[in-house]
């Protein structure tokens, strides 16, 4: 497992975290290529189903990232996302998904440096955790 490269699916909101990713890029900051960004208009539109699909499809980790509380472009979408992540964190560990595989962060539009740092940290953590059992053992 020394060469294990985790696959991370990240649902990032258009107004904050995606913009931060963009800023990281235009600032020529590098971050691991393990992350697959999926731009959504708001974290409030991330149905728990999307997270489950990513995990069952073989993602080693899922990140949902949006605006800081109070900064949501749609006023309160991120608060709703937080409840859904709470819900998923109650359900998924029962079936052997380590809680570390699902993360929620707030990364503002100007936090390009922080975005790159969080991606590096996330990849490091997931490398230590190892591959998801869903990828190894599931027959879809």
């Amino acid at each position: 497992m020394e060469n294990f490269e985790p696959v991370i699916v990240a649902f990032v909101c258009n107004w904050c975290t995606y913009t931060a990713a963009d800023l990281a890029g235009t600032s020529r900051l590098s971050y691991p290529k393990n992350v697959r960004l999926i731009r959504v208009m708001c974290t409030g539109m991330v149905d728990p189903q999307y997270v489950i699909k990513a995990l069952l499809g073989g993602a080693d980790g899922v990140l949902v990232s949006g605006c800081h509380p109070g900064d949501c472009h749609y006023i309160n979408g991120n608060y709703k996302a937080r409840r859904r992540i709470k819900l998923l964190k109650e359900i998924l560990p029962q079936f052997g998904f380590e809680p570390e595989r699902l993360r929620l962060t707030w990364i503002g539009a100007s936090d390009g440096i922080q975005f790159a740092e969080i991606m590096r940290d996330l990849v490091k953590e997931l490398k230590e955790l190892g591959p998801s059992q869903a990828k190894l053992k599931m027959v879809v």
Binding site: L56, Q94, F95, G96, R103
Partner: protein, 379 residues
């Protein structure tokens, strides 16, 4: 002080008393119809019927151990818009609790209904019920309630209460407008009738039944029942958790699922008008199936089974009332209820929410607070 009354019972015949109670209800000017389970002439199963004519109550049978469907969805159909009349609905506690969830999801209304809850004696699986009832469903109901109320084990003649009923802590209709009590009540002489809301209070007063006291024995009987139910539930949760504690095991648990979606149809609180799993989203391109198969050399067909159950858990586990109709509807005897109750118990606890308790409490995923669940944020 809420009105507490008694419905007289003659010759130990509870069904006759409930029938006369329903007749009295229908005689009230402000009640236009009654929704009550009846044995139908063409089949022995007790089905909900909407009755406006008191002469059409011959097969009334709310005490039957038959539980073919959760009536909450039926009542939602009758109440989602004003009907111009008021319905008295006689239902099991889990049906009332599911109805309350639908009210909160804006798929039903309480304005045109009086909920009459009956202490629940439990129910059999459909298949067990047919065997138990044989050719005489009326006699079967009597045999069942006399046995259970005499304190005997509900397992009789090869039929037994469903696991959902054995693990149920809600034998008493706490959320009903009028609660009809059987547990710990001397049912040889009367059925207890208690008003539990202003609407129930008004109606019960109007019926002018003889007043009564809640018997001492009731509290003790209910405590004993709760204790045994909770013990069963604890064991059920432990067994189910052990049987599903990895994705591989969950796959095994659901291995006999054929994606018929009966559990979702039977579920009273699965609230989507159209389930995403029957839309084109899951009508994958044929090439997609080949790619999936090629990835590991084989793919189980039909696909998306575990995905379906996990999605349903995230969508409705906070509203699960544990009625067990999902297991009842499963053609391949998958213990669906056990898993959904286990997860529902956890998700409801996480949001300090109890499904079906009160119309005042908002469904957990419809609201939020600014300062909560900080522990799920950050790396």
């Amino acid at each position: 002080m809420a009105t507490t009354a008694t419905i007289n019972v003659k010759d130990q015949d509870l069904l006759a008393s409930l029938k006369s109670f329903c007749v009295t209800l229908l005689e009230q000017e402000n009640i236009s119809a009654i929704l009550v389970p009846q044995r139908l002439p063409m089949k022995s199963m007790a089905m909900p019927t909407l009755v406006t004519d008191a002469d059409q109550l011959a097969g009334i049978d709310p005490l039957s151990p038959a539980f073919p469907m959760n009536g909450a969805k039926v009542l939602a159909k009758l109440t989602r818009r004003p009907s111009g009349g008021k319905i008295a609905a006689m239902m099991r506690p889990c049906e009332i609790r599911a109805f309350i969830e639908l009210v909160k999801l804006k798929q039903a209304r309480t304005e045109d209904v009086v909920l009459i809850g009956l202490d629940c004696l439990g129910a059999f699986r459909n298949t067990d019920y047919f065997r138990f009832a044989g050719d005489d469903a009326a006699a079967a109901t009597q045999r069942f309630y006399e046995g259970v109320l005499a304190g005997k084990d509900a397992a009789m003649d090869g039929a037994d209460l469903t696991p959902a009923c054995k693990a149920c802590e809600h034998s008493v209709p706490d959320s009903a407008d009028i609660a009809l009590g059987l547990w710990g009540v001397d049912t040889g002489t009367g059925i207890l009738a208690q008003a539990q809301s202003p609407a129930g209070e008004a109606l019960l007063k109007q019926l002018s039944l003889p007043t009564a006291e809640v018997p001492q024995a009731r509290k003790e009987a209910l405590a004993r029942l709760l204790e045994s139910r909770t013990a069963y539930r604890h064991k059920m949760f432990a067994d189910t958790a052990a049987a599903t504690n990895s994705v591989e095991k969950l796959g095994n648990y659901m291995a006999n699922c054929v994606n018929c979606y009966n559990c979702r149809v039977a579920c009273p609180v699965c609230y989507c008008k159209e389930c995403v799993f029957v839309t084109d989203v899951f009508n994958h391109d044929p090439a997609q199936y080949l790619r999936w198969a090629q990835r590991k050399g084989a793919v189980k067909m039909p696909t998306d089974t575990v995905f379906y159950h996990l999605t349903r858990l995230t969508h409705m586990s906070t509203a699960c009332v544990g009625c067990g109709q999902c297991s009842n509807a499963c053609p391949n005897d998958i213990p669906v209820m056990e898993l959904f109750r286990l997860v529902g118990h956890r998700t409801q606890a996480a949001f300090a929410y109890e499904a079906g308790k009160s119309v005042e409490e908002n469904p957990p995923l419809s609201v939020f607070k600014e300062d909560e669940f900080q522990e799920v944020v950050g790396l």
